[in-house]
């Protein structure tokens, strides 16, 4: 009985708690999982674009315009990490300010399963 209690307290409870706290953000209508077209690390998860997160802060035409180059079609632009580093596409915002920058600490904020 004590063993069972200890199992519950030491193993199950932390597992349930971490699962509850670190719950992945829900899949929302408009979320885009980019297809990997360029050669890269096949083991590494392709990037996910949560449309709703961006809609909270910005209107559609902030990204969907000619200067930014995003058309109204997923997969129509070839986004590479190089182009982001040059400040194109995601890199227009994701450079530290206004949004988090690209670094080895932030890989899994976009590249997640």
């Amino acid at each position: 009985m004590i063993r069972l209690l200890r199992f519950v307290v030491l193993v199950l409870l932390p597992w349930v708690l971490t699962a509850a706290v670190a719950a992945p953000s829900p899949t929302v209508l408009g979320d885009i999982r980019f297809e990997r077209k360029s050669k890269g690390d096949e083991e590494f998860a392709p990037a996910v674009f949560p449309h709703w997160v961006h809609r909270v802060r910005y209107k559609c035409y902030v990204c969907h315009n000619k200067e930014m180059g995003f058309a109204f079609k997923s997969g129509s632009v070839a986004i590479t990490m190089e182009s982001i580093d040059q400040g194109k596409y995601c890199g227009a915002c994701h450079k530290g300010e206004p949004a988090f920058g690209i670094s080895f600490e932030t890989c899994n904020r976009c590249h997640r399963k």
Binding site: A23, S25, P26, V28, L29, G30, P50, H51, W52, V53, R55, V56, R57, Y58, K59, C60, Y61, V62, H64, N65, K66, F72, K73, A92, C93, P98
Partner: protein
Amino acid sequence: MSLLAACSTPPALVSMAHTVRDTVAMIPAALFDKPPPGQADPGDAPVVRQPRRVPFIDPAIEEYKKMLAIAEARAKLPPPANWTEMYARLPKDDEDNIDWMAALKDKTITPSGVIDASAKDPGKTEDIEVELSTSGKPKRMVIFSHEAHTQWLTCTNCHSAIFKKEAGTAKITMDAIDEGKYCGVCHDKVALAQPSGCKGCHKVKAKKS
């Protein structure tokens, strides 16, 4: 004896003098609207009267007050700590999808039109409503609201790549929308008309003519 008689007042005169005194005491009450003797003077306290008719309550003002209360309550809330919390705050429809127009309306979100806050917002608004006659469901006409759409988009997003500016030039069908043309460029991909289902767009009953 006659002197004594002259000095004492006759009873008739006394009662007359009393009457005069009482009458003079009544004068301020009559002149200055004072309560009759024996009743308490209310002083300067305002007189409370019942309303003569039931006051009119405007439902539009009441709804506005309710929204204002919600907005004020939200302003007191701390900003959401993370995106999960933000997601929980966004208003949802009956199918648990985010109701973006409601989020705009109740100011849960105030999306910006520019990345750099000092830059000029290139967005333009428009409030022309376009009536789209429907052949399949003649009773359920679609009224396209420019006002709702230009809160998110600007003219060049749709004109002229998706729709020409002249009304009636696009032959929009549900099949075309399902294939991702016309409304289907955004709708059912990132945008949902509310309420969900057909009635989101096909909400206007055509008048019998």
